[in-house]
Every structure is written in structure tokens, then in C-alpha cells.
């Protein structure tokens, strides 16, 4: 693997993603945690671009930073008195050990794929990828994913209604 601009970009985006992730789980202040989450997901968008999926990268930024981040900041502020909990973690070391052990297991599985009989894919099979237009057609074509697409929109509607019903003040009159 030679060192070039793409490798550099990959390293930077990976570090941003992982650093943001560590920020999310270690930050005392939850508002900062939200910002770290955004940093992490922004790095993820960069990785998507490297994987030649620019549409997913743009949707990642739009959905996470435009919608979910705002949702989280509102939730953090609505539950403001507990932004600084005295104790951040429960069973810190046991959980850290569990996560670390799981990571070692996953990496071992990734690097030595014992269950793969033939050679694992290390490099892209082709440089030709499907484009955004193909994705759009696939989502609404009868032979493609039109049913999951409709189910997903139903899920979103249900989530929206559910969220409103749950979060609404009980004393509120509609």
C-alpha cells in the first residue's frame, strides 16, 4: 500500500471518526458530547466519500448534523439539570475490559478470517460503482426496493407520531 493522498485522507478521516467517538463516551459535559458525535459522524461522511458513495456522505451530514444533532442538543438542554452527573460511568473497568476484549476479537476476526474458505476480498473487484441515479431508480422500481422503501416511510411516520405522543406533556390539552 503506497502512501498517497487517499491514504492520508483515510487516516485523517479515521482519526476524526474514532477521536469523536472517544469524545462522545468520555465527555462529562453532554453538550460537548453531542458536538463530538457530530465530529465523529462528519469523519464517517469523509470515509463514505472515499468509498465512492457521495450520496450517502451527503445524507449522513444532512440527517445527522441537520436533524439528529439538533434533536440531541434539545434533549440535553431539556434535561439540563443533569448535564454534569457526579458519576460519569457505571462499572467503568469491567465495561472497558468487555469493550476492549470484543474489539480484539473483532480485529482478530477481520485480519485472520478463519471462517472464510476462499481468499478474503482485500481490494475492490471493480472501479465501476453504481451511481446516485441508480440508487434512486432502485428505491422506487418494482423489481427493486419499493416495498422496503414504503415500509421505511411508514416507520418514520410511526416514529414521528410515537415521539410526539411520548414526549407530550400529560397535562397538555390537544
Amino acid at each position: 500500500m503506497e502512501f498517497n493522498a487517499i491514504t492520508l485522507a483515510f487516516i485523517v478521516f479515521s482519526l476524526v471518526t474514532l477521536g469523536g467517538g472517544i469524545g462522545v463516551v468520555t465527555c462529562i459535559n453532554l453538550f460537548r458530547g453531542t458536538i463530538w458525535l457530530m465530529v465523529s459522524l462528519f469523519g464517517m461522511a469523509g470515509l463514505f466519500i472515499l468509498l465512492s458513495a457521495p450520496f450517502l456522505a451527503a445524507v449522513q451530514v444532512l440527517v445527522y448534523i441537520g436533524a439528529i444533532a439538533i434533536l440531541f442538543t434539545f434533549a440535553v438542554m431539556l434535561t439540563r439539570s443533569i448535564t454534569h452527573l457526579p458519576v460519569r460511568f457505571t462499572r467503568l473497568w469491567a465495561n472497558a475490559f468487555a469493550a476492549g476484549a470484543f474489539f480484539v476479537l473483532l480485529v482478530a476476526g477481520v485480519i485472520y478470517p478463519v471462517w472464510v474458505v476462499n481468499d478474503a476480498v482485500h481490494f475492490p473487484v471493480s472501479d465501476v460503482t453504481r451511481t446516485t441515479a441508480d440508487l434512486g431508480v432502485a428505491l422506487v422500481s418494482g423489481n427493486g426496493f419499493v416495498l422496503p422503501f414504503e415500509v421505511a416511510s411508514l416507520l418514520l411516520t410511526a416514529a414521528m407520531i410515537g415521539a410526539i405522543v411520548i414526549a407530550r406533556d400529560v397535562d397538555d390539552e390537544l
Binding site: 453538550f31 460537548r32 457521495p54 444532512l62 448534523i65 439538533i70 442538543t73 446516485t132
Partner: protein, 402 residues
């Protein structure tokens, strides 16, 4: 990788190909992000002059001929002012927020095609990129309001974020119409699709919706709840001073002009016009159209009074959102129907005027029909509200009290 233009010249001059590519990309990035920065200096002066004329004043006229150096004087003042950070503020986020706000606008310019041959990046998903990047600004405002550790700032930020998140919905729904007509998210292809007919004639309603919601996105009157001086002291940026305030200020001005350019690209054919093959003329066309739209934005800003937060929200959820969804559905239906009947070309980029004329007429009539329907409905509801509240000029006070 290919390496045209400046990069090629550098390589021929004996530079390392990698370095040459990096340098030429760097120059490109600086140029693309430099254009909005230079534009904003002019914009501030234009805005103040136009606002002054509309309000029957003269405007800045002391520094330089016709006050043309006023912006530089203001810039110097902002730079030399004391840069205050409140002691209880979250220093990192407090300082980062103006940068993010500024960046969210400058980043949009990366996909704007200035001429057929000059653009920052020719992204396959240009229009979606614009929506995604613009949403960064919302986060910046929230961060600024929270990090200032001031209740007025936080309240201001809450209101602004509620406003921005809500108005993003009609904005995107309106944006879907030109995207659907052009059949692509690429900015250049959207412009080429208008080579025989501008989209404003096919979708005037979408144009209006886009203009209104982008005016709201920038937080300009009648939606200027961002800095409702009389209620919120100055809104989310109350604690900011010096150049950090200046960055929020410049970001707002730039955002308005950026919206004017985007409106030009999506609905008024971008740089299309006679002789658009010449880069300079194409650039002039884009600038001219965007400036005219910018003037209309200023006109609206200085003419219409500020709305209350509940009025703004109701206007969005009970008016803009349903209308934009209905408009999108109707346009999609008509477009598909006409394509199946062979009345409309499937690829607009190569269609001639004769081919697009029938679909333009049908879509225009449909749009006018919706507008007439809306106006009729507003007339009846307006009348019944006036009757219910006693009518006449006194009803304003009653309506404001409910």
C-alpha cells in the same frame, strides 16, 4: 490523476507532479473561498445603501467617495475592539461557533458553477451537498447560544433553531421541483437543463417557496427572530464582540447573496443568457441575475415588519409545508403524465424550445391554478377572521393578543 491548467504548467516548469497537483488544488480552494469573502465587503455597503434609500435616508457617505470605504472602516473598528469571552462560557465551543457558521456558508460556494468552465467541484450530488452543508449553520447557532452561558443567548438560539429546522422542510421540497425537472442533482446539469426554458416558467410556485424559505433560513425580516432587538437584546450572538461577532454578521450577509445565486441557478438558468459560451459573459449573467434577486431580498427585508415566533411557525407548518408538498406531488404527476403521453422530453438538457413548450404551458397553468386557489382561500379565511375579531384597523391589536 489528470492535472490540467496551472498544474500542467507547474509540471512543465520542473515541479514535482504531486506538489504541482497540491499547489494547483490549493490555489483553487483559496480562489473559491476567496470569492465570497471579497463579495461580502461589497454586499455590506450595497445593503446599507439600499436600506437607506428604502427608508428615505442617505446611508453611509463619510468614508471615501459615496461612503464606499465604510465597510473597511467598520472592519478596522471590529478588529480593534476588545475581544471578550465571558468567564463562564465554554471557551472552545464559544470560539468555534463563529467559524462553523462562517464555514457553512463558504462551503456552499464550492459547488456553485460560476461559468460553464469554472467551478470549485463538479459534484454528482451538488444540490444535496448544498442542503447538507447549510444545515451546519443551525448547529453553529445552537452552539453559540449554549456556549455563551447567557439565558438570552440560549433563548435566542432555541427560537432560531426552531425556525431554521422548520423552514428547511419547504426549502427542500421546493428544491425537489427543479431537481425533478432536470433529473439530476448536479448543478451544471441543472443549469444545462434550462438551456431552452428557465425553470421559473415551469415552477413559479416552487421558486416563490424557495425564495421565502431561504429568506427565513438567513433570518432576515420578516423572519428576523434571530436578532429581535426589542425582545432578545440581540439574540444568540449577544455575548459576541469584535471580529467574532463580525464573522456571524458576514456569514449572514454572505448567506443572503448565496441564496440569491442558488435561486438563480435553480430557477433562472444560472449563467445562461446570450453568448454564455464566453466565460466572462457567463459570469456577468450569473452576477447580474443574482444581484437583481439580491435586490428583491433587500426590498422585502426593508419593507415587511417582523412576525412573532408563533406566527412564523404557523405560517410554515400550516401554509408553506402543505403547499410545497402539494406542489411537488402535482408537478411530479403532471410531469410523468406528459412524459408518458410524449408531450414532454425525458432529457431536458438536449431538448429544443419547441419540445419543452407544451410542458411549460401545462406546468405554468397548474402552478397558476394552485396560486389562485391559495389566494382565494386566504381571501375567505382573512375575511372570516376580520369579521370574527370585529374588523377594521383595530383588529390588528386583537389578533396580536390571541
Amino acid at each position: 490523476m489528470d492535472c490540467p491548467g496551472l498544474c500542467e504548467a507547474l509540471v512543465q516548469g520542473g515541479a514535482n507532479p504531486g506538489l504541482a497537483q497540491f499547489l494547483s488544488l490549493f490555489v483553487g480552494v483559496v480562489l473559491v473561498s476567496g470569492i465570497p469573502l471579497v463579495t461580502v465587503i461589497v454586499l455590506i455597503l450595497v445593503e446599507r445603501k439600499v436600506a437607506a434609500r428604502i427608508q428615505d435616508r442617505i446611508g453611509p457617505n463619510r468614508v471615501g467617495p459615496f461612503g464606499s470605504l465604510q465597510t473597511f472602516a467598520d472592519l478596522l473598528k471590529l478588529l480593534t475592539k476588545e475581544d471578550i469571552t465571558p468567564t463562564a462560557a465554554d471557551r472552545l465551543l464559544y470560539n468555534a461557533a463563529p467559524l462553523v457558521s462562517f464555514a457553512s456558508v463558504v462551503l456552499i460556494w464550492a459547488v456553485i458553477p460560476y461559468t460553464p468552465y469554472h467551478f470549485g467541484a463538479d459534484l454528482e450530488i451538488g444540490a444535496l451537498y448544498f442542503v447538507a452543508v447549510a444545515s451546519l449553520g443551525t448547529l453553529a447557532i445552537m452552539t453559540a447560544g449554549w456556549a455563551s452561558n447567557n439565558k438570552y443567548a440560549l433563548l435566542g438560539a432555541f427560537r432560531v433553531v426552531a425556525l431554521l429546522v422548520s423552514y428547511e422542510i419547504p426549502l427542500v421540497f421546493a428544491l425537489m421541483v427543479p431537481i425533478m425537472l432536470a433529473g439530476t442533482l448536479n448543478m451544471l446539469d441543472i443549469i444545462y437543463a434550462q438551456s431552452s426554458m428557465w425553470f421559473v416558467f415551469m415552477a413559479p410556485l416552487a421558486m416563490l417557496l424557495f425564495a421565502i424559505s431561504s429568506q427565513a433560513e438567513t433570518g432576515r425580516a420578516p423572519f428576523d427572530l434571530i436578532e429581535a432587538e426589542s425582545e432578545l437584546v440581540a439574540g444568540f450572538n449577544i455575548e459576541y464582540s469584535g471580529m467574532k461577532f463580525g464573522m456571524f454578521f458576514a456569514a449572514e450577509f454572505m448567506h443572503v447573496f448565496t441564496n440569491a445565486i442558488l435561486l438563480t441557478i435553480f430557477f433562472f438558468g444560472g449563467w445562461l443568457g446570450p453568448l454564455w459560451n464566453e466565460p466572462l459573459i457567463a459570469f456577468a449573467w450569473l452576477g447580474l441575475k443574482a444581484s437583481l434577486i439580491y435586490f428583491v431580498f433587500l426590498w422585502v427585508r426593508n419593507t415587511v415588519p417582523r412576525l412573532r415566533i408563533d406566527q412564523v411557525m404557523r405560517f410554515n407548518w400550516f401554509f408553506l409545508v402543505p403547499v410545497s408538498i402539494g406542489n411537488l406531488l402535482l408537478t411530479a404527476l403532471l410531469l410523468k403524465l406528459m412524459q408518458e403521453l410524449g408531450l414532454a422530453p425525458r432529457v431536458l438538457q438536449t431538448a429544443t424550445l419547441g419540445e419543452v413548450l407544451p410542458m411549460t404551458l401545462v406546468l405554468l397553468l397548474a402552478n397558476l391554478g394552485i396560486i389562485a386557489l391559495i389566494l382565494g382561500r386566504l381571501r375567505t379565511t382573512g375575511r372570516s377572521e376580520r369579521l370574527a375579531t370585529g374588523g377594521g384597523a383595530g383588529s390588528m391589536a386583537v389578533a396580536a393578543g390571541d
